[in-house]
């Protein structure tokens, strides 16, 4: 930290303050939510109505406009938890723990969505709702990892200890995710592999992938909105005994 | 400049949403003993655990000989004995020596057990000993050479001991004080007669 310029260091310390986070991010939410709605509206309408059907999968390929962003967020959410875990363990920044606690259920929800949409997509494509496809299997294991973190946090009573325990688990998990992914991929090549997977559509034309890009961006903003709102609530809960939160509650009452 | 063995400044500590200490200062010099007294729940144990690094939710500075506390500079005897019931007294003490990286002769184990009056019980699994004898095994750690550290933290060292045991423990404590160590301990009993002893009330009486 010695070589970091003063201004940056001050910003870092301020960012670590839950109160600063609460007071700063409140005004961001409407803008983020509006951008998310715009991107998702355009992307989804375009993807559902204007993109041409896939020559092999027909119209069921339109599920990718939600499946891919959800699968992406499922993984990104876990990464984010691990990064927060490192920040918590190294710099003891309480805000990182609050973000981590918020991301877990949101990430798990998107993991579930990725799993469910992938499975629904499988019915018209493979003729069955569940197939042990490499990607779907990895996502299923990712869901278990999320459930483990959420279970651990619920089980430990002291929030301070729960945060650090979850940080350790998230870091161990994030190192394992690529190993799990590659081992599952490799395992598929040994067994009868599915001929094509939900995301392996060959060389999409722009009219198909631009809406996908819009939706990925839109879902990212949506995720940000949810995490920011959730963290703000978490800040209030954890700081409920400080004067600024008490004052805030009084104001809300008035 | 010489540092106090233990120097606590501006300690603020919470437990279960309740503030135990605020602006708490404590200074302990070499060859000094301090008895912490106070009602149940006043935070005596929590204070010892803060110092030992087993209760991280505190603010303020805790320094041992001028530097942050390191586990090999202190000896902690808590409510839990630190003795495995399935192992013999000798095995337990040997493990405590190994933990501290002791490379000298193992003869110190029987010397320590002799000191606490457990001669002949060396190889009996501790769970077959009486409660008082088990307590003595735990306290035999104070008679090991690895106990020669600057600070002892003793949480209720006199419970479950008879008069002879009490004499024994205060003897070990006096010996450590004479050797230049500092001792912080909690007890509900009246303090034993120790050189350099003072008492501090925490909690309700403060």
């Amino acid at each position: 930290m010695k070589y970091i310029p003063d201004g940056l260091r001050r910003l870092w310390h301020r960012m670590g303050s839950p109160r600063w986070f609460y007071e700063t991010t409140g005004s961001w939410v409407p803008w983020l939510a509006a951008s998310a709605a715009l991107l998702l509206g355009v992307g989804t309408v375009w993807g559902l109505a204007y993109a041409p059907p896939d020559y092999l999968q027909g119209d069921s390929f339109r599920i990718i406009y939600i499946h891919v962003p959800a699968a992406y967020l499922a993984q990104a959410g876990y990464m984010l938890m691990a990064v927060c875990g490192v920040v918590l363990l190294v710099w003891r920044m309480k805000l990182a723990d609050m973000v981590m606690a918020t991301v877990a259920p949101v990430g798990a929800a998107f993991t579930f969505l990725a799993l469910a949409t992938g499975s629904i997509w499988g019915k018209p494509t493979w003729g069955t709702y569940w197939i042990w496809d490499a990607r779907i299997t990895s996502v299923l294991i990712l869901l278990f990892l999320y459930l483990g973190i959420m279970g651990l946090r619920r089980a430990i009573e002291r929030p301070e200890a729960a945060g650090r325990a979850c940080a350790i688990l998230a870091i161990v998990g994030v190192i394992n995710i690529p190993i799990i992914k590659y081992s599952v991929d490799w395992w598929m090549t040994l067994h009868q592999p599915a001929t094509f997977s939900v995301t392996s559509a060959p060389a999409m034309p722009p009219v198909m992938w631009i809406p996908l890009l819009l939706n990925v961006l839109g879902f990212n903003l949506l995720f940000a909105v949810s995490v920011i709102q959730g963290t703000r609530t978490e800040v209030l809960l954890r700081e409920r005994r400080t004067r600024w939160v008490t004052d805030l509650c009084r104001q809300e009452r008035a | 400049m010489s540092h106090a063995v233990l120097d606590i400044r501006d300690l603020r500590c919470e437990r279960d949403d309740r503030e135990l200490f605020a602006d708490f200062d404590l200074r302990l010099e070499a060859a000094q003993a301090l008895q912490l007294r106070g009602p149940n729940g006043a935070g005596k144990t929590t204070l010892l655990r803060c110092i030992a690094g087993m209760h991280p939710e505190y603010e303020g500075s805790i320094r041992l000989l001028g530097v942050p506390v390191s586990g090999d500079q202190l000896l902690f005897v808590g409510h839990r004995p630190g003795i495995s019931g399935l192992l013999s007294a000798a095995d337990n003490l040997r493990w405590h020596l190994d933990l501290a990286g002791w490379r000298g002769s193992g003869g110190v184990v029987s010397a320590a057990l002799e000191r606490v009056g457990l001669i002949g019980y060396e190889e009996v699994p501790c769970q077959q000993l009486s409660a008082g004898q088990q307590r003595r095994v735990a306290l035999a750690r104070l008679a090991l050479p690895t106990a020669e550290v600057p600070l002892w933290l003793l949480d209720e060292p006199f419970t479950a001991l008879d008069d002879a045991g009490l004499q024994l423990v205060s003897g070990l404590m006096a010996q450590r004080l004479a050797g230049g160590g500092a001792i912080l301990f909690t007890t509900h009993q009246p303090a034993p007669d120790l050189p350099g002893l003072s008492t501090r009330w925490i909690g309700a009486a403060s």
Binding site: R19, T44, L48, A49, Y50, A51, P52, P53, G58, D59, S60, R62, I63, I66, H67, A70, T102, P105, V106, A109, F110, F112, L113, A116, T117, I120, W121, K123, P124, L222, F223, V225, S226, Q229, G230, R232, T233, L236, L237, E239, R240, R241, T242, R243, W244, V245, T246, C249, R250, E252, R253 | E19
Partner: protein, 71 residues
Amino acid sequence: MSFDSFGEFLAMGGHGFYVWWSYLLTVAVVGFVLIWPLWRRRRFLAEQRGRLRRADALGQQAEVESNAPEA
């Protein structure tokens, strides 16, 4: 537009059931993800308000504030 009529749009070339189910599920999950933090916040504020009112009624405002160190 890749569909000729609204009926065809709904049918999705025979895959309508799967596509619309997926999107319905997405709406549900997104709804949950957006509403859950707000619901928690509302519950928290209601709880705190209750606590403050109780404290005021008892004239023990001091109790709340003595518990509240400066942030």
